[in-house]
Assembly symmetry: C2
Homo-oligomer: 341 residues x 2
């Protein structure tokens, strides 16, 4: 009578032992069969799997982590959750990792390297299976911790050619260059750049913009409006007003993010500035609502879902010990031209 056998077990859960007994093998063999370790007779694998399914066995992650010295958690560190960009990345990561038995852990750094370092310290103590980090801008201590931990790590959103580093993203610089070039191609010559937050990726886009305008011989540092404040529609509107007031000859604006650009577009409506006739406007990221603006916003569609997906897959390959993992995955970007330019 199984019920009497189970009487004293506090947890009441089905264990590997019971599965093994039911399948007529040792627990080790059952463990190997269930984990898909090769080198177990096909017939035994089958028997174990049937027994596990019949008993409704669910492996205990804690026991597994303790015995193997390796958890199933995968901390995913992003700067912000209030930017839809990262939410999309995270959703994609979840979708890839969960079915493989890994547990994404969301960490928010608020663009603060110190905060990231602390989060990292805490997560690393839990022996995570892998790590998904945003970009390359972190403290030296954080870098060290990741390196010495030996835990597989994939970097998201930016690219590097550094050896041994796995990254998935696109060239922020080139995307900035491309959108600036588009505005020049439209015949604009006084092309401004409005940015907020000023995180590393924003600054890379700024570099692309500068590079492009210099190549065309029309760069003017006075057309850059950089604010360290967090990005928002409200701020975009304010900066737009500032710029139009102080630089009335501006004929195009590249906003480093769509929320700023949307705010700018609404400010233009309010002020009666004709877009794109008087000023062409472009944003970045193709966030929700940009296609609904008046006029619809020209922008760069960034592959954030793809970044999450490919990042997770790269990590999975690393965890599998796959020798053929691609170190750097460039997912590109897409210029989306709409009515605002």
């Amino acid at each position: 009578m199984p019920s009497s056998e189970r009487r004293r077990r506090p947890s009441g859960r089905i264990t590997l032992q019971e599965v093994a007994r039911s399948a007529g093998v040792s627990p080790i063999t059952a463990s190997r069969a269930l984990r898909g370790e090769r080198g177990v007779a096909a017939e035994l694998v089958e028997r174990v799997k049937v027994a596990a399914a019949e008993l409704g066995y669910v492996p205990d992650p804690a026991a597994r982590a303790l015995a193997s010295q390796r958890g199933t958690q995968v901390p995913v560190l992003v700067p912000l959750l209030s930017n839809a960009l990262f939410v999309d990345v995270i959703e994609a990561v979840h979708r890839e990792l969960l079915p493989h038995g890994y547990q994404p852990l969301i960490g928010v750094t608020h663009y603060d390297p110190m905060e990231e370092e602390q989060l990292l310290r805490g997560y690393l103590a839990q022996r995570p299976a892998g790590l998904l980090l945003t970009g390359f801008d972190r403290t030296e201590a954080a870098r060290q911790m990741v390196a010495t931990s030996g835990i597989p790590c994939v970097y998201l959103m930016e690219l590097t050619a550094a050896p041994g580093v796995h990254c998935v993203g696109f060239s922020q610089h080139d995307a900035g260059y491309a959108i600036a070039q588009h505005l020049l191609d439209r015949g604009r010559r006084r092309v401004a750049f409005i940015a907020a937050q000023l995180d590393p990726r924003t600054l890379q886009r700024a570099e692309g913009y500068r590079h492009c305008l210099r190549d065309a011989g029309v760069y003017d540092a006075r057309l850059e409006l950089l604010s360290p404040q967090p990005s928002s529609m409200r701020l975009g509107g304010e900066l737009f007003e500032d710029l139009v007031r102080t630089r009335p000859d501006v004929d195009a604006i590249f906003f480093c993010n769509d929320d700023l650009a949307q705010g700018g577009l609404l400010a233009a409506l309010r002020l009666g500035v004709a877009v794109p006739q008087q000023i062409a406007v472009a944003g970045f990221n193709d966030l929700s609502g940009s296609d609904q603006m008046l006029p619809p916003l020209t922008t760069v569609r960034t592959p954030r879902r793809a970044v999450g997906e490919a990042g997770a897959r790269t990590l999975l390959a690393l965890l599998r010990g796959d020798p053929a993992v691609q170190a750097s995955t460039d997912l590109g970007f897409e210029l989306v031209v709409r009515g605002s330019s």
Copy 2:
């Protein structure tokens, strides 16, 4: 020489044993001291804490979970991450739970009870410390699983008076009633309701709206436009156009969510419909950008950060075994009147 003592430990981490030895107590006492269990001499607690700090001891969550049969994870199940509402809730939950050593696990149900049930099954197998669920709309199986698991659970966003149920939120019905009443107070009589997604909370707001309009004797079912599609600015614009075309006598619209309302406002600009002169517009949630619209959007500010915070605190109290936990916490809502009404 400690280095030779440590030679064979695979993990290389500082253990409770070492802390205990260094403090001159038994591991059990060290464990109790570190967990703040009462009944340990103050002097010993001090010694243990100093030793732990000196050695840089970090408890192993896996070992802890295995021994105590109780993990530190707290699954937080929300319908969607693409609605800023839930992102705010999640951020607040993180902020509360993390410092207490609990690990929030984000699960996305996509408004699908089946998906929620599956997620729940997986999470429950991990013996989470607690559970944070959105609303009360779930499968019977899910309900059973939660009940029989005995794991403390707090429900977010909605309220109930059901005994033994802990919930934190506000009355969606009353909020719907209040915004409808506001439009009536503005002298409107043909007040439409536009909704998408049609999740339980949206339907509760619909009830509030109906209730209010019936009380005023001006309810007209033909002024309800309900779409099961996911909420978005684009859809809001489309539904606005539909409504204005088919019901030209409408003089006010209550959109069930701000993204729809923002889309509606932009459609009004496009179509040359004067807001609020011809049609007053109100939204719900006070999402980012609503204050930047043209005109700024009247809406209901919902206490989502407070919901996450209070929800997490309630759970913490439950985990502590606090006998004075409040079962139902009504956080209210705030009418935000702006230019659109």
